[in-house]
Symmetry: C2
Subunit: 440 residues, 2 copies
């Protein structure tokens, strides 16, 4: 009889151990992929790619390197030597090399080049290999950091993590941009957002969050739209105003930038990312923001009820010039542009207690206060020609008591994109889904 | 101009602050839902439900309580008094009460009762309100704890979190239990698992994990199946044996039990959960486990290539009787019962380098080593009558080099179910999806 005892994880040497210097002049064995190989006369330099960086291995002529091709998985035994020219300051003088696995064909792209400079279509088609590039890896490490900060921060603020269904009977956001599927003979949809469920869970835990996929069957192909993306959602009860949500999001962004600075410095440096200052974020009303941007940049307002992408860019520019902020909250969006669950401003019901957060000129968050009163919600649905009886299980929460509440949803890929200075949101999704792309 | 500065979250009084004793004899204001109300002559006792527990408010006759009905959202101002009879040891002597929101109708179930004792169908139909019950809340707090431990533990072990698409062109697990949808005129599916993508990402980060929904169009209605569930997936490169994965999972379970004990003690106590001992988990071969259970419990083996639910129960019982373990790993599942990506045991290719983890007689994890060599994988697919050309973007990773690797997937709801001693896996999903259930 054998037992699994949970004790084996400590047995493996990591890159950080070597680069920390504790193994200088000692013989160690490390595994990794052959990231790059340079043959220089009697000596070959293998760059080993490990999960947390690369290590250079110097191989003298006696070693058989015939199978140590790029992207082979190998284990190298050697002596750790301090060398200022090596990445990380240490290299391995190899004495033995073992092939763990070898590729059937050379990589279709030069994985180890600093920049791959492929067109986006080619890059996305070859994603499984392209992502092995160190810059690509760094993008999604930063994405991981954002997600981690989101959960850590909300846990600290007393939020509970929830898991809500993605196959649903009714869409929360309305409109035609919803994927349909057959569910054992019944008509079903893919959730456009966890809206109904996160509100429901406010009645249970007061404060909840979910980081999960959402699905939008939008037919336009733009650099800012994905048909499946990761939404960082939160919902909070007992708010005294929707402005509390903006304050909470600012706190999250502060925590995220701190965490990235602390734990992802190498990735930020590799991508040349300068973290934005989020000490304070300016707040502008929708109508005021439109007016200010129109006046300053001489672009007439065409539709007073909507915000065009160019206007978002100009409002972002205005906030940067005026307050040195790369973020700006725009509040009080028009009621007719917001879903039926948005709370109208009682002083002027043409506008809602809602907001978007713009980052470097693009919307990365939508949020606001929700209707909590049953009759108010039913009336608002009726006024929009909706049928409340179709939303019975959702309206159950209003009927049986809901505190004043609100929430927001952050597009993880958009936030990553803008933070990393990428041109297209597809570059911030591991395996993006768009109008034409269903694989890899 | 206003700014959001991320500073407001500290302004709110939490239950833990009061129950800590720091506010004794001071006047405070707390919000919450009226969980229960008892009128006793000139005095009324309101139990306020807050996100982290309940607090008792004693209201004398002068307060207008006419609107303070069950499930109303209120803010109570009062003096904190020490009282051993009150839950938590402190109560509030109310001096003012403000109604924040009131329900349109009384709750359809007595939310504040210790046990609701509803039938499962009724319970699930009324879930939005039922979940407000404290025992229900505790189930999903424990679920949160498991998920948190999974991420914390894997982050500590150098794993990277990933987000992979749920709309896919090909199913990873094969078979007919897959949901189809129309994707802009193309045939698409909902991912049965992140299998292809997590393997792909091993080529990038060596060690990856994802906690996300998966979808199975299984037509059978059993107490152990859901059509959508949360899968805790991990995949790890450079393993020296698939047994390393079992060791890693044991380490995770140890971390999870520690975290639950530390952070979720109140929820464990409320549900009467005794955490299992996971210091070491016995490991049995599939054929041996079947034989041992058959001999001891006198149940003849009907199919040597499959494990029936009753056999899982008996193997679990055997491990308990023999080694005092509520968990048992069963290894070397038959090749024909495992997917095409499973690695066969070269010493006997009828079996695979794979395992299931049984907990209290039910499978909660499936894992194993995967094929990493390109030709081996292509040959295995051909031998099964599959068409490798349909899996080109997946096979790209094998073609261009993959280290030896393996992984596992844990059913979050099943683990929660067994840990909490629930009879049906539906009770461990907030809003379960099954053959007949698409809402709430």
């Amino acid at each position: 009889m054998e037992f699994a005892a949970g004790t084996r994880k400590a047995q493996r040497l990591e890159l950080a151990d070597i680069m920390g210097g504790a193994y200088e002049n000692q013989t160690v064995s490390v595994h990794g992929a052959v990231h790059a190989r340079r043959d220089m006369g009697g000596v070959a330099f293998l760059t080993l790619r490990k999960r947390d960086g690369v290590v250079q291995c110097v191989c003298c002529g006696e070693l058989d390197l015939s199978q140590a091709v790029e992207e082979a998985a190998v284990a190298v035994t050697g002596t750790v030597r301090r060398d200022a020219r090596a990445p990380g300051g240490f290299e391995l003088a190899a004495t033995a090399l073992k092939i763990l696995s070898r590729p059937a064909a050379p990589p279709p792209v030069p994985v180890s080049k600093r920049r791959l400079d492929l067109g986006l279509d080619a890059e996305l088609a070859l994603r499984p290999v392209v992502l092995r590039n160190l810059r690509m890896r760094s993008i999604f490490k930063i994405q991981e950091g954002i997600c981690k900060a989101f959960r850590n921060y909300l846990h600290q603020c007393g939020f509970t993590e929830i898991h809500t269904p993605k196959i649903v009977r009714a869409g929360a956001e309305g409109g035609s941009n919803i994927f349909r599927l057959d569910y054992f003979g019944k008509k079903a949809f893919l959730a456009q957002s966890p809206q109904f469920y996160k509100q429901t869970m406010v009645g249970v835990y007061e404060r909840v969050f979910e980081a999960a996929p959402v699905f939008r069957a939008e037919k336009h192909a733009t650099p800012r739209h994905l048909n499946e993306y990761t939404s960082l959602d939160l919902e909070m009860g007992y708010i005294d105003s929707f402005t509390e949500l903006m304050d909470l999001e600012t706190g999250f962004l502060q925590a995220a930038m701190d965490l990235l600075r602390r734990e992802y410095a190498a990735d930020l440096e590799r991508l040349g990312v300068t973290l934005p200052d989020v000490a304070r974020i300016p707040v502008l009303r929708f109508d005021e923001a439109k007016r200010l941007a129109a006046v300053r940049y001489g672009r007439p307002i065409r539709d007073p009820w909507d915000l065009e992408p160019e206007e978002e860019v100009n409002i972002g520019r205005y906030a940067w010039e005026e307050w040195g902020s790369e973020f700006v909250f725009v509040t009080h969006y028009p009621s007719k542009k917001r879903p039926f669950y948005a709370m109208d401003d009682p002083e002027d019901p043409r506008y809602t207690f809602s907001f978007d957060l713009l980052f470097r000129g693009m919307e990365v968050t939508t949020g606001g206060q929700r209707v909590h009163d049953y009759q108010t919600q039913v009336d608002k649905m009726l006024a929009r020609g909706m049928h409340p009886e179709e939303f019975e299980s959702y309206l159950m929460i209003h009927k049986h008591g809901m505190p004043p509440h609100g929430g927001l949803g952050i597009g993880l890929e958009r936030l990553t994109m803008k933070l990393c200075g990428l041109e297209n949101v597809r570059s911030a999704a591991l395996f993006p889904r768009d109008l034409h792309r269903l694989e890899p």
